[in-house]
């Protein structure tokens, strides 16, 4: 199971990546679990204040399920407008 993971703004800067493609590890079935797993390599995902996530370009909660081919994004609270 392959996922595309995107990082934006301060999260992207802290991690030093804007995007990566990963194989979803077995047992990781939610966005929250993915955050924990990726946090082992990218500490900013665990320390970022009010981290937000989207799956397939829809804002989601940490219990959102994952499927093969999903595009998952992590970012800080938005500040446009």
């Amino acid at each position: 199971m392959t996922l595309k993971v995107l990082y934006f703004a301060s999260v992207s800067e802290a991690i030093g990546l804007t995007a990566e493609t990963i194989d979803l590890p077995a047992g990781v079935t939610t966005v929250g679990a993915l955050r924990q797993r990726l946090g082992e390599r990218h500490a900013a995902l665990l320390t970022a204040k009010n981290l937000r996530a989207a799956v397939n370009r829809q804002m989601c909660g940490w219990d959102a399920p994952l499927a093969d081919g999903d595009e998952v994004a992590f970012f800080p609270p938005v500040t446009g407008g």
Binding site: N50, M59, G80, G81
Partner: protein, 150 residues
Amino acid sequence: MQEVSVQQADFDPGAEIAALSADDAEAGAVASFVGLVRRDKHHGDVVAMTLEHYPGMTEQALAEIVTQARERWQIRRVRVIHRFGRLLPNERIVFVGVTSGHRHDAFAACEFIMDYLKTRAPFWKKEETPAGARWVDARESDDRALDRWK
């Protein structure tokens, strides 16, 4: 008429307002909003601001916000333009324009779209000041602004 644009280029509020009401004799009201880069004395003079966004999601989020506004108010035409890239103080960032038969629907939908855009559309601002660059923190007041639409 295209409802949502996410672009680097500037826009012309007067042309947008004219297009919103063109050839529509049932439109009695055009409410619009223009957001500008503020110099913002709080953290020292802002020299410039760079807006990053999530291409693809941005357009979709804005279109969904417009759909929600259409479900809540009797509105006729809507136009949302949001810029990205590097902008200087006093430059335009965002335009929201709404037409309706009567003014209350136009005002409410326009402000609703701005309030939702501020918390749901994936844009992030980074300010350049003489002391360095910093990401702008989300304002709690923007979250609170949504409460009134619940």
